[in-house]
Symmetry: C3
Subunit: 382 residues, 3 copies
């Protein structure tokens, strides 16, 4: 313990950070807010207003640092906006039975540069767009493919190994988790097993650029990441495996993920393929009601270019094709989106405008018709 | 970016504040707690205990600062006490469907001294008593008029213009907001339009004294603020426009506000008149149940004097007269209140005692009779 | 007020603390996280998995400090993990009707070394194991006796007087509180009255060692604390007095507590006896449904030794014997537990492993059979 009153070592690269004078621990505090105003048209021909979405979409508080040794680090993230609590009283879920304030609460142990072990609640090594922070996306929302098939967060053990063969860099990621998602009280014996391989044949991205959207680093040489993985959720109890409403019966769910990212001189190209299968996708309760798992395939493509003015133009095309077994409940989905982003302070302060053409609208009762959407968003964080 | 380890510039005027060494952003953190113990009599004659109210009424955490430029500021306020979350499971509301932790999350842009633009969730420019922080009131609670008719917080765009003609200072405030209140997921095309004019014929109050209660600044010359405004909520879906339970049918609601504040040498006089009209104040569902909007008029008067010892005496009279159309559901209300406040560190640390005589009691099933109330409150914040 | 920009006085003994340059207030911020992975066997013979408990059990944020004068201090603790919010939608409680984020929010006034007065919400002076922070326990969970009979937190007034006769030190603790527990809106006239006496015949423990588990201070001379108390909850409305589900009828509840703690050279011995009586332990609603109060007696014994390596071995035996009046609803309970704890930075960073043999399992529908449990937990805080 250092003498009382000695100041800590500050840093402000990402929020407010300090290291105690005796280096016994560090803490870095950040927050961020995402506010938006969006419009949804009545149909593809009728541009009248069906619904506005005007809200603070996300409000997060984050604490990170090390404790005891720089090898032992922690990451805590709390979410306070309603939409971020991922809970609706009306679902009457027995698994997801109260608002979720805690998003991440995880302890990392990094014995060396090759290995990282984690224990706690955090994102699974799923599709890249899901793992990229919602604060570092180039569109206002993630794609419909991500919404349909992502494996979200879970509680348990994770490990990452990374190494290189010459210029080729690779990462192996694995997770053994409860399978019921965030903040569950207990879990049956059916756990979740997730694995992912990432190959960076042209070397590492600058400043971790494989895990934020847009080529803000303007890679001077081409950088590529190709990844594949799968998650097996045994005896899943929720419609989306780690997320969603309670199923009426338990079943195994498999999610398959392939994604690739290329960045070069301000240009970023992202492609994602996801698929989901379930042993028993349609579950029935005693009174004959049904709840199903969206099984099927999805593709998402994004292309962007950032100008020297830090204005970025981006386009996206996404589609989901449900398996025939659930076609009675789920239509094909398709979405086109163009976006412009002005990065004032990289992803921490940005202004975004999006215009889209969607086949589905979460705010509309009639979902079988195309409609237009447009909106602006401000992201501000320290 | 400044070199690592350089300390920030601190200030402790309101909580814990710091500016980064390179002035890239600032953050100011505050909290405050309001705890009380109150007694309610059985009736005007029977001083037996009907109910106690013993609780921490408010617990707030607040972050403010600038980001990127001093012209771009943010304000975030979180509320953690149960009473502050403004949600009751039993309401089964489809609009207000989970606890509200976020009170404010707003970004301001001030291009110059005249204009201020806001985007996000914060208080509307409604009646002055509502806009004055609950931490800067001179009584334990706001008046029954405020409870009945205030327009609370909402999400959207706001603008303020201020200027002077000689000594006369004026402010023009406008807001275009969702109309459904805090933390809604989506909103129909019926938005809310709010406007307010404030005129300070005798010049500005010291230290923003027109927006805290009690003349703690002891204005050496008389200061006056006269204000009028209205809010039109199109296709409102809640009984109190931005607050309250779900209506069974949508209707337009208008709220009219006039208030005036005079401060001079420790004396403060506040008067407020509010009125509310609705196109269709009584809504009916399929099974014949009714939910209504309290339409009618309210008046609130407060007079206070602060002694050199920082002990303040204050009195209040308030009344609400419902429109005849809703008289079947709503009685007249009346409340008398006297209060004494010892300001230990202005509004941040104060001890309050109130004695009241009310025609209604939220904790009593029988509300048509007068009763007494008495209580103490401590407000502590940094 | 000190000049702008002057740095505060820092300290990092318990979290991040600072005192303003003019000593007008201080604030100390801490957080802690408890994450665990536990296994429960199917029965005493069948070691198959009945349930896992994999979750972040606790995530707390805490603010402490003084305001205005060092005699006036505050303590605020927020809990964000689901299990810590002590609310389940399915209880449909009218008292505990939304998630409980606020655990503590209390203001202390210490006019001198003898007296301490408190106003607000915090723990009652109940059984020692309950009052010891969940972050300073030597097992993963408190005992079944604590679960059955503790009086938890409440809102109101508390006072502590302490003094010495020679080497003998004693404390007198009293509380007058609402009786309905945390975060209630209102309370009937039936309040709760709690008193407790603690006698330390061999003098004070080092560094407050009578209120954390395990003899981490390795008392060089034997230290003993003997305590007795009771809590009378008039017109209680919940099955556990300050906690639990809503009763169908109100009744008086008495809780009796005796506990003793001995610490010497790394060894700690703790014994606890609790009993609960109720005037009317079984309450019935209009449709004949019953809700009862667990009346009866419980005993808990813990013995531990901490090695010079800061590895501690501990054993616990606990049992509950319900009164005959509620034997139709409640079985006898019994639990054996052994634990090993590696203290890396005292109670703030520790690794725990527990193996137990229990007669009841909260995660099993069949509770009349013994089963095994085993698990690991990491506690990390600043």
């Amino acid at each position: 313990q250092s003498p009382d009153g000695e100041p800590p070592l500050f840093n402000f690269k990402r929020g407010v950070g300090l290291v105690t004078p005796d280096s016994s621990f560090s803490i870095n505090m950040r927050f961020r807010v995402q506010s938006r105003a969006m419009y949804n048209s009545i149909s593809k021909d009728d541009f009248g207003v069906s619904e506005y979405e005007m809200r603070m979409r996300r409000l997060r508080l984050r604490f990170e640092g090390f404790m005891y040794s720089p090898k032992l680090t922690y990451n805590i993230q709390l979410s306070f906006s309603r939409g971020d609590m991922d809970w609706n009283m009306r679902d009457q879920s027995s698994i997801n039975n109260s608002p979720n304030v805690v998003r991440d609460a995880v302890i990392y142990y990094k014995p060396n540069d090759r290995w990282q072990f984690a224990f706690g609640q955090t994102k699974l090594p799923g599709n890249r767009q899901r793992v990229v922070s919602s604060g570092e996306q180039q569109f206002i929302d993630r794609s419909i493919v991500n919404v349909g098939f992502n494996v979200d967060r879970d509680f348990g053990f994770q490990a990452v190994y990374n190494n290189s063969f010459g210029n080729l860099h690779y990462l192996l990621k694995g997770a053994l988790t409860s399978g019921e998602g965030r903040n569950v009280f207990s879990t049956d014996k059916g756990l979740a097993y997730t694995g992912r391989v990432e190959i960076l044949p042209l070397g590492k991205f600058r400043n971790g650029g494989d895990y934020f959207e847009g080529d803000l680093e303007r890679e001077p040489t081409p950088k590529l990441s190709l990844a594949g993985g799968m998650s097996h959720n045994e005896d899943a109890r929720r419609t989306g495996a780690q997320i969603g409403r309670d199923l009426y019966e338990q079943t195994d769910i498999q999610t398959y993920i392939f994604d690739g990212l290329l960045k070069y001189r301000g240009m970023a190209l992202y492609a994602e393929y996801m698929a989901r299968e379930a042993d028993n996708p349609i579950t029935i309760n005693a009174t004959g009601e049904r709840r199903h798992i969206l099984t099927g395939r999805g593709q998402n493509y994004q292309l962007s270019y950032i100008f020297p003015s830090n204005v970025e133009l981006a386009g996206r095309y996404s589609r989901i094709k449900p398996n025939s077994e659930v076609r009675a409940f789920e239509d094909k989905e398709e979405a086109y989106l163009v976006g412009v982003t002005k990065y004032l302070r990289a992803h921490r302060l940005k202004l975004q405008g999006n215009v889209g053409y969607h086949s589905q609208n979460p705010f509309l009762s009639v979902n079988d018709d195309y409609h237009w959407t447009a909106g602006v968003q401000i992201e501000l964080g320290i």
